[in-house]
C-alpha cells in the first residue's frame, strides 16, 4: 500500500497511543458522533467504532451487553454509516470500524469498503475474518478503498505466524494481551509482561497496540512500556453505562493521568 492514511501518520507520532473502543449506538442510538468527538477532544489518539453484532463471540459480557443494547436501540450498518457521514468535518484522529464479518458480508464487502472510504474510515478490525481469507479474497478491495485491515496476535500465536501477519499488515498489529475474550482480566502479571517484551524484541515492521485487559492508568502504562499504544474497550463501556456520554474527559484523564 502506498497511500499513508491517518493511522500510519498517527503511528509515527512520538508518543504512546491511547485508542478507545465503544459500541456504536450505545448507550443511546444517536450517541455515536458525540462520543467520538468527545474522545478526540479529550486526548484519545484513535477510536474503534464497534458495529454491533447479534452474536459477538469474541467479546466478553460488557461489550456483548452494549452490542445487544445498541441493536435494540435500532443500530444497523446503514444507520451507522449515516451517523458518520459528516464525521470528518469535526474529527481528525484515525477511526477504525470494528465488527464481525457477517454484517459486512451482507452489506457487500466492496460496498462496505467504499462507504468507509467515503466517510473517512481509516481501517477495519474484523475479528472473525481470518488472515488467509482476507489475503486471498479481500485484500485488493481493502487496498482499493484505502483501508487498513488490522490483524490480531495472541500469546499463543507462533513466531512464524507473527512474521507472516507482520508481513501482510500495513498499519499496526492488534496485540491481544492474553488469550481471553475482552474484559475478563485486570492487571498484567509477569507472564504478560514477558509476552509484551518478547514481541517487542521481534522488531516487527508494524508497531503493536495492546488490547484486552487495559482498564486504567496502571495497565495502560504496563502495556505501553513495550508497545506503541493500547486499546481500552470494556472499561470505557462500563464508564458509559454508568455516566452516559457525560464526563468522558474524566475517563480519559484517569487513563493518561
Amino acid at each position: 500500500m502506498t497511500i499513508m492514511n491517518r493511522i500510519n501518520q498517527k503511528l509515527k507520532e512520538n508518543k504512546k497511543l491511547l485508542s478507545i473502543y465503544f459500541s456504536a449506538g450505545y448507550p443511546n442510538l444517536n450517541d455515536t458522533v458525540s462520543i467520538i468527538e468527545n474522545l478526540e477532544k479529550n486526548g484519545t489518539d484513535m477510536i474503534e467504532i464497534g458495529l454491533p453484532f447479534s452474536d459477538p463471540l469474541a467479546d466478553g459480557p460488557t461489550i456483548q451487553a452494549s452490542s445487544t443494547q445498541a441493536l435494540k436501540n435500532g443500530m444497523t450498518t446503514d444507520v451507522l454509516f449515516n451517523q458518520l457521514k459528516d464525521i470528518r468535518k469535526t474529527v481528525s484522529i484515525p477511526l477504525i470500524l470494528m465488527g464481525y464479518f457477517n454484517p459486512m458480508l451482507q452489506y457487500g464487502v466492496e460496498a462496505f469498503c467504499k462507504k468507509c472510504q467515503e466517510i473517512g474510515i481509516d481501517g477495519l478490525i474484523i475479528p472473525d475474518l481470518p488472515v488467509d481469507v482476507y489475503n486471498d479474497q479481500y485484500k485488493a478491495t481493502f487496498e482499493k478503498y484505502g483501508l487498513i485491515n488490522v490483524f490480531l496476535i495472541t500469546p499463543q500465536t507462533s513466531v512464524e505466524r507473527i512474521h507472516f501477519i507482520d508481513s501482510i499488515s500495513n498499519g499496526f498489529i492488534y496485540m491481544v494481551s492474553s488469550a481471553s475474550v475482552t474484559g475478563s482480566n485486570s492487571g498484567f502479571g509477569e507472564e504478560q509482561t514477558a509476552y509484551f517484551k518478547r514481541i517487542a524484541d521481534m522488531n516487527l515492521k508494524n508497531p503493536q497496540i495492546v488490547g484486552f485487559g487495559i482498564s486504567d492508568h496502571k495497565t495502560f502504562t504496563q502495556a505501553t512500556e513495550y508497545a506503541k499504544g493500547s486499546i481500552i474497550g470494556s472499561a470505557f463501556i462500563k464508564h458509559l453505562s454508568k455516566n452516559g456520554t457525560e464526563n468522558i474527559k474524566s475517563f480519559v484523564d484517569t487513563i493518561l493521568k
Binding site: 452474536d55 452489506y107 472473525d128 495472541t154 475478563s184
Partner: protein, 393 residues
Amino acid sequence: MTYNINNKGYYGEFGGAYIPEMLYPNVEELRQNYLKIMAEPSFKEEFDQLLKDYVGRPSPLYFAKRLSEKYNTKIYLKREDLNHTGAHKINNTIGQILMAQRLGKKRIIAETGAGQHGVATATVCALMGMECIVYMGEIDIARQAPNVARMKMLGATVIPALSGSRTLKDATNEAIRDWINNPVDTHYIIGSVVGPHPYPDMVARFQAVVSEEIQWQLQEKEGKTTPDYVVACVGGGSNAAGAYYHYLENTDVKLIAVEAAGKGVHTGESAATSVLGKEGIIHGSKTLLMQTDDGQITEPYSISAGLDYPGVGPMHAHLYKTGRAEFIAITDDQAMNAGLELSQLEGIIPAIESSHAFAVLKEKKFKKDDVVVINLSGRGDKDLQNYIDYFKL
C-alpha cells in the same frame, strides 16, 4: 461435482474457518492433526472398540413393518436411539474425546441444545476422567430438564447461556468464548457438523459410521447396499451427515433433509434455514443462516431444542444449493403427531428432533418398492414432558 469437503475446508462455496485469531492455534492444531490421528491404527482400534462395547454399535437397521404397511413403502429405521445416552451424538463425542486425549488436552467444553450432545460429552468425559463444562441455553435447560439432570449425575458443570434467544446458538457463543479464554489445555467438542473447519468434516467422519453400517445392513436385508432414500432431520446436520456420508457421491440415493418449520415457515417462529436463510457466517463457518438484511443472526424457533438453530452445517448448505438433497420443512404439529404415530405403531418413542424426519412420510409419496431409510437419531425420553403436555396424555 463433489459433495465432500475440498482440501481448503470448503463444501463448494461453504465452510472455511472464520475464527478470531485467539482460536487459530487450537483450530489449526486440530486441522493439521485430525486426519492423521484418525488414520492411526491405535485410534481406529480404540474408537471402534468403544463404539462396539460402550456405545452398543452397530445400531440395528430395523424394518418397520407396521409403518411400512401404513405408508405402503419399505421403511427401515436406523436405530441411533439405541446408542448409549440415546442419540447419534455419542459417535462424535467418543471420537473427539480420543482426539482430545491425543492432543494432550485436559479440559473439555461443549455446547448443547437438546442436551443430547451435552450428555454425550459429559459421558465421555466421565469415561476418560476429564473435566467437563457444558454450555446450554437457559430456555433449553428448562425444556430438556432430564438431560440437565443426567449431565450433573455424570459430574459435568452445566452453565446457562443467558444471552440472545437463550438456546443453542447462544450456548455455542458461550462455548467459543470459553475456548478463547482457555486456549491451551481445552478442547471444544462441537456437537454437530458446524463450526470452523475442520469440525464439520471431522464430525461428519465420526458420524459416518452410520451410513457405513447402513450399507452392509441393507445388503443383508435387501441384497443391495443402497437405499432409494435416506431421510434425516437437520439441526446442525450431524445425524444427517452421518446417514448420508457414504452415499453423498452416489446420486441414485436420494437424500432428504428435514428442517424444523416451528409454527410455520413464514410465521417468524421457525428454524427452517434452507428456506429462510442466506449465505453468511455463523460460528466460524460460511453457510446458510437465518439473518436480518443487516446481517444480524435471527432467533430461531422450534419445539425441538436440537433443531432450534438458525444455521446449518456447510455440507448441508452445499447439498441444498446444488440440489443434491431435497429439503422439507416440518412444523411442530406435524412432528409431534409423527412422534406419537411412531410410538403407537412401532413401540418406539422418538426424540422430537427425529420426529421431524418421520413427518415426511405424510408429506411425500414413496413408491411401494422404494427402500426408505429414516435415521432415528435419538430416543424421546428427554421429551416426554413435552409430548405429554402437547397431547394432554
